[in-house]
Symmetry: C2
Subunit: 363 residues, 2 copies
């Protein structure tokens, strides 16, 4: 990989974000300067305007637009809130401070900007994402949740106080937290030839202890349940910037399947964003057919599991034969199994037998 090429990606994007926030302000200023009531147009995020796009392999927004104008008295409040959100995002990114959605809600009060509740401020941040096409993490608004990564990848920080410092992601054997600093780092060097994402913390630690990163030349990512958006973006970067194939291992149940699917194809409520998916990533198990083939210890599917499986069966993201086959198999065997179930064959069976078999099968 070209070091130079990498080094520009994160820094360039930060600049783009700042410029696009400033352009938004400029546009509003120019409208007022010309004596117009300022207005902003954006794609509608209502359910009727969300479509699954087979090319992008994710949900996208259709052609319906929403227009906010200061001329309309009912629009003045959300319009003002939006302008404040853009201003505050600009403050965060230029001052290089991070925040959370909860924090944004309270920070508004420092500016005598009132939001009825956090849902209202969250919506305004999503409006800003929709208008500018960047995700809130690009505005330095991060989720509380943190997951982790481990493997031979050297990164270079861009955050204040750490600029130019590098870290190899094998430096801490409990894994390296994926927070704002790691997310905004440049990828410098790796010997890995694949990414293995794992749902459970215990198994992530097992994989490190059993040197899966060395034996399989892999960068290991812990999703810790549903992967936080920052982690999904991080997995995408590993795939796109380093050309590494991504294999996802989850529990063998509808919720595990969906953890994999959201990494692969994203979610409907991020239909306005393009950088949270990894369409070429593979769900490598635990499949319903694995439960049968490996004779795993199981629990019965409960009512909620079954309901969820029928929902997924109709979901456009699940139309591929493999997913449909696995959904059908779950419904047929009426059982589910956790990743840890492989321990019935000994603690290292999952690494020694199951993992290589599945990597080969889903290559």
């Amino acid at each position: 990989m070209g070091r130079k090429e990498r080094k520009t990606s994160v820094i360039e994007k930060k600049k783009e974000v700042t410029v696009s926030l400033e352009n938004l302000g400029l546009k509003i200023y120019e409208q007022m300067d010309k004596g117009y009531f300022p207005s902003i147009e954006m794609p509608s995020r209502s359910t009727e305007n969300i479509y699954y796009d087979p090319n992008f392999r994710q949900f996208i927004l259709g052609d319906r637009k929403v227009r906010r104008t200061a001329r309309n008295i009912r629009h003045i409040k959300p319009f003002t809130q939006l302008v404040w959100a853009a201003f505050f995002s600009h403050e965060l990114t230029t001052q290089r401070k991070t925040s959370t959605l909860r924090d944004v809600y309270y920070s508004a009060q420092a500016y005598e900007m009132t939001f009825k509740d956090q849902q209202e401020s969250n919506n305004i941040i999503t409006d800003l994402e929709t208008i500018l096409g960047f995700s809130r993490e690009d505005f330095n608004i991060f989720p509380e949740e943190r997951s982790a990564v481990f493997g031979d990848l050297t990164i270079e920080y861009t955050v204040p106080g750490y600029e130019g410092k590098t870290l190899n992601l094998t430096s801490h054997p409990d894994g390296v937290l994926i927070g704002p600093a790691l997310t905004s780092s440049e990828f410098i060097e790796t010997t890995a030839d694949k990414v293995i994402a794992i749902e459970k913390g215990g198994l992530f630690t097992r994989f490190i202890e059993e040197s899966v990163h060395k034996k399989f030349n892999a960068i290991l990512v812990l999703t810790a349940g549903q992967a936080p958006r920052a982690t999904r973006h991080f997995i995408r970067r590993l795939n796109k910037e380093l050309n590494l194939p991504v294999y996802i291992f989850t529990d063998g149940d509808p919720w595990g399947m969906h953890i994999a699917m959201v990494i692969i194809s994203g979610s409907a409520n991020a239909a306005h964003l393009r950088e949270l998916t990894t369409p070429d990533a593979k769900w490598s198990g635990v499949w319903a057919t694995d439960i049968v083939n490996y004779k795993l210890p199981t629990d019965p599917l409960d009512e909620v599991d079954v309901k969820r499986l029928y929902e997924l069966q109709r979901d456009p993201r699940y139309k591929d034969p493999l997913w449909q086959r696995e959904i059908k198999t779950f419904l047929k065997i009426k059982r589910k199994a956790e990743q840890e179930a492989f321990s019935r064959y000994g603690l290292t069976y999952i690494v020694d037998e199951y993992l290589p078999a599945k990597l080969k099968e889903t290559k």
Copy 2:
């Protein structure tokens, strides 16, 4: 701090754990060798045998004993399960592999050892803790949850592949995960003179960004809600081995209070253990009186909050005047506030004004 002295603590304890597991096996073997049905005695963990001890400042077990003997046909199953759990813990610790409670449940099947459900295997592990006086983390059985730490502390790993390697806990600005490797590391060197524990991830990141670790010479610990047991033990070690005072900052509500209390005085269901508490740690806020004094944005207490406050009011751990005063104030103002509420005065107010005031007040 003496480097030599530190270096022995973790390694010595590991040896003690192995020896005590082996002694348990030896004792059972000797009983059988003499022609006796083997038996084991341990303190009862039933509610009637749990007392709050003002000296230990935690719950402890009383004098009631439980005896398991292979002579009693109803005891044979739990007795066998216990012996297996001790064997499996010995395997884990000597082979230096880690596990989770979930994993132990499934692993049993590899030995044709059946547990009805995970609750049953969890109970047997707790029996083993009670008999030997070590916690399950000492047997390499770790929780899934991970929290994080950041600050000038150099540690030395003892886990395979990393023996003798050191890491400074400022090396990753998102924080360093507190997992099995960090938990089992030796503390080598620090310039910090206090520990600040924080409930929320967003605020932990804010503290790092605002250099709280430098400005206040502090090691920052993220509890990420209720602190996992490994983190509580880690905080205790920072306090006992490095003589660092511990200040805990949580949300201003009964749940935040209790996060602090469990770090300080532990929980009733760990009454059989002594190494999960930090009795001298201070709850430094957000207090109910802070809500009043700092005029924080609040939410009303709901029914569950109020019920919880009345429970805490009667809890022996909460008998000190400060806790009682804060509980009364919550009940009087009928409001609660989150840590992020300070952002109404600007993002750095909490670090610039509130934190130094509270560190002074609770010194």
